[in-house]
Amino acid sequence: MLEFLRRPRTRAQARAAIILLAVLLAVLPFLVEAGLSRSWVRVLDFALLYVILALGLNIVVGYAGLLDLGFVAFYALGAYLYAWLASPHFGLHLPFWAILPLGATLAGVFGVLLGAPTLRLRGDYLAIVTLGFGEIIRIFMNNLNAPVNITNGPQGINLIDPVTIAGISFGKTQQLFGITFSSAHFYYYLFLAFTLVTVFIAYRLQDSRIGRAWAAIREDEVAAAAMGINTRNIKLLAFAMGAVFGGVAGGLFAAFQGFISPESFTLWESILILCMIVLGGMGHIPGVILGAVLLTVLPEALRYLGDWQRAAVGEVVVDPGDLRMLLFGVALVLMMIYRPEGLIPSRQRKREFHAEDGVAAQEQASLYDSRA
């Protein structure tokens, strides 16, 4: 079906595909609830949340080519800001719509602050430094509970307000138009709306003056500067844009969970999001979406491994939850070796990773140079 969506033959077919997709997305949580269980609707919500995160990180890693391993810091900032402003922790209960822009702005500002000192660094150093920033933020979250209790330390912040829209609290199950909506259903539609906006923005950015500047920096930073691109500002812009998506996703996460703690914002979360991008196809929006959905849903499906083990040998030998990260690691290695361009690559990336004609031509050119 994806093929059909990507290459519609006629305008009518394209329209039909879009309508089909829209209907499918609209009824999906009910299908999933009926076919699997309500807990799978929550998995669906998380899949959407990760699509937002992965598309955000994709701006930094996929578009601008800056390997950021501290992305989770912005996710954490958004989540903590929401928790501070909408929970009994400080006794503040601001509405969702007021906090979200604040979270986005705060994350964006931090994106610039954290990005600024790292801009001179080459790719792999950048990765380690951003990782360091992510860890620093996590260590602070863990310890800023004394002498002034800001983050409540490892216990995290509880009883965070759910989103309320038009008087409907998303926190509890309700009847609307004769249909039963659980909290997971409400958040599904909220997250879907945010996901669609994110996808839209990601596409628009990619195909723009700014998007081309990012691609140019990714391809050859010196040439980009020599063509008049202010590489420092454009890289910072990538950091900031990525961070904004991270911050928004963090706010959504806090409201959805009702509880946050530093545990949700470890380095592995950053790496998980990076895996989604790598798996699907760096820099390519459909690939990134696929990667995010796959890596959210597969670990859940892995839980069935426990049942199979019980059926086969009578007990759970290997906890499937423990297998999850192991398999991610294996997948990362295998992907990089056998299919570095991802499952659905963009045409550019495919070529970039399989050094072929283009590079050969460049090498030829430099050959000419040394001879001349």
Partner: protein
Amino acid sequence: MEIFVQQLINGLVLGSIYALVALGYTMVYGILELINFAHGEVTMMGAMVALTVIGLLLGLNPELPGLLVVLAGVLIAVPACMLLAFAIEKVAYRPLRRAPRLAPLITAIGVSIVLQNAAMLIWGRQYISFPQILPQMSFTVLGAHVTSLQIFIVLLCMTMMAGLWWLVQKTRLGRAMRATAQSKEVAMLMGVDIDRVISATFVIGAALAAIAGVLVSAYYGLAHYYMGFMLGLKAFSAAVLGGIGNIAGAMLGGLLLGIIEALGAGYIGDFTGGFLGSHYQDVFAFFVLILVLVFRPSGLLGERVASRA
């Protein structure tokens, strides 16, 4: 003053362990320009394997002399880690030697995840304690408390580093390594077997890491599947501080970082009026890393490494 001397000693001990691990990062980086993210996990594996052997031996006969038991653990852990590093390089890094820069880094992260989670599956999530079988003596120096284990760690690390220095400077293999670090192409033309040199680099680094792993678990009395992550990051920071790719730099960087960290943890409370406490110890390594990369990316002893697009 006692606090200062005490923290200086603690820092020296930790720092010499960091230095040992940092050598592995720096040697690999010097030759492949690859941040071998999995090196910290190799260190952890060294500790885990040694502790398993120690546990088995003590299970057979609890009366065995402690030093001998630990030595047996090390003698098994070192080749095990060497083999592991050899396999990692061959399976995960070698196929990507000509790939774009980010690819091997991502693979390295993947390997690191695999090792960490494999260790968790094998040894479980709980802390494994290092049995109290080593002879313990303690001394008082300038009012500070020093144990025989601390002295042993520092001396052993110094000996290992001296050995490595000799290997790199004086032996045929060392010469081949230095040539390969200068230019792979030229070394190849001069008849150096690059693949062997690279394998050897990984294997030597792993041997040092295995020993460091055992030392660190003996020092803290604990091992854990997660211990390699922070240790690896700190050692990497140490390598960068000294100037990555530079062997003397890794040694210097390790010692310095250990001392900075210990003094920082000891005094941060005073500096911040009690607002920040010693739980922030882990932050120092990252601050050092970031400051070095921003203000002197070549490190203390290294050559220039900053941006080349």
